[in-house]
């Protein structure tokens, strides 16, 4: 059914809407036809996120593309956002679902701040919350079509985890989503080590992002790298990577060929 707000009120600070929600009287047979929310398909998607733990915390990289099928439609989408004081969320997959997740997290952080008890949500708690949200949506066959990367530092402890659209959740020293799983993780497995400096960490991420740029059709050459340390979260300005095309073999590959290959 078409979801419309039942009540609608605004005060100076926020804008509140309450939706009609189907009442579950346990009669799943009758509700099944009424419930038209089923597994959807993504429209505007973000590609890989790559993230690693390093000496002072966590580094995360993503490009700024939003693809619409095969069209590289949006080129200024920020796919990494700070959550509270201690965490950074990166997302690949459907952008509208990522925007909705940010709204859920806004509410989570707001409620956390309202306790006014000096405590604040750490990355482990945020990751756990997201895992529950993603898994429960998966159980209702109505997933949020994203793979999320959650990194953060609290009380000197670095944290890096991932949740997929089906609720698979884990922590690791280095993670990647989408194409990054196939192209970046092998590089990270070989070259990551504990206590990377900031410079080495950035270079390692850039190595991964360059490979993704060469080999992922939905990658664009405009990326950001984000850093989370005890001090807080910073997301870099957008920038582009140089690429290399001067291999001799690239120059005239069909020179000695018969036909076109």
């Amino acid at each position: 059914m078409f979801l419309l707000p039942v009540s609608f009120s605004i005060n100076a600070d926020y804008f509140f809407l309450q939706f009609t929600i189907p009442i579950d009287n346990g009669d799943s047979v009758k509700n099944a036809e009424a419930d038209s929310q089923r597994t959807l398909y993504p429209y505007v998607t973000g590609t890989s996120i790559v993230a690693i733990k390093y000496k002072d915390g966590v580094l995360m990289a993503s490009d700024m593309g939003g693809s619409y099928g095969s069209t590289l439609r949006y080129k200024n989408i920020e796919r990494m956002k700070a959550i509270g004081k201690h965490s950074l969320l990166g997302a690949s997959g459907e952008i509208s679902d990522f925007q909705e997740i940010l709204r859920y997290l806004d509410e989570l952080v707001l409620n956390d701040n309202m306790w006014d008890d000096g405590n604040s949500l750490g990355p482990k708690e945020v990751h756990n919350y997201l895992t529950r949200v993603m898994y429960n949506r998966r159980n209702k066959f109505n997933p949020l079509w994203n793979t999320l990367v959650l990194g953060g530092v609290k009380n000197g402890e670095s944290y890096l985890g991932m949740v997929s659209m089906i609720g698979v959740s884990f922590e690791d020293n280095h993670v990647a989503t989408g194409f990054g799983n196939h192209l970046a993780r092998p590089i990270l497995r070989d070259e990551w080590h504990a206590d990377l400096s900031f410079e080495d960490g950035v270079k390692l991420l850039e190595k991964c992002m360059r490979v993704l740029l060469y080999r992922d059709r939905s990658a664009i050459n405009k990326l950001q790298i984000a850093k989370i340390t005890e001090e807080g979260v910073t997301v870099s300005q957008p920038y582009s990577l140089k690429t290399f095309w001067e291999f001799k073999a690239f120059n005239n590959p069909t020179a000695g060929a018969e036909g076109s290959w």
Binding site: V44, S96, Q99
Partner: protein
Amino acid sequence: MDLNLDAPHSMGTTIIGVTYNGGVVLGADSRTSTGMYVANRASDKITQLTDNVYVCRSGSAADSQVVSDYVRYFLHQHTIQLGQPATVKVSANLIRMLAYNNKNMLQTGLIVGGWDKYEGGKIYGIPLGGTVVEQPFAIGGSGSSYLYGFFDQAWKENMTKEEAEQLVVKAVSLAIARDGASGGVVRTVIINSEGVTRNFYPGDKLQLWHEELEPQNSLLDILNAAGPEPMAI
């Protein structure tokens, strides 16, 4: 040839929204199709939400109409409660709310554009799925496929009102030339601090593109104009 007159009314469409130094210019074609038949050749796809915010509609005609009707209704109430004109951002977020929460049923891509005293001229693109993207310019509809390259080359920041409108008219006209689902006239709406201006550019007022010929009343005019023996071997 099957005209499929029972196909849902869809606005194939080309829609554009562009910010300039002082406001926004919204533009659209005027073709509404039912399968292969042109149900309305002079539709108005740029719809008012408030005095200062308009929306360009594409995709399903019904879906885009009903969404903009609801949002106009919500914004009317919001304006009363707020005591001043609604902002473009609020308008865009209301559209997003409906588009996102009903993503399974709706098939409409929208471009919200307007002017408010806090942020000036703003354009928000809301494609299928309900993503909101604030952009200096936005293109949408089936005709937009032919305009990505054009805008990559022709767009610049801080254009004047005249430059912006000319860019929009040129772009819609180019899309109409290549997209079968776009056609008719080019409509533009300019919104700034002074108010709203609607313009109308019928096909014969537009520049001719590749393989397009100057329209004539009749072959006879051509034959007569060419001299006494035009068909002599």
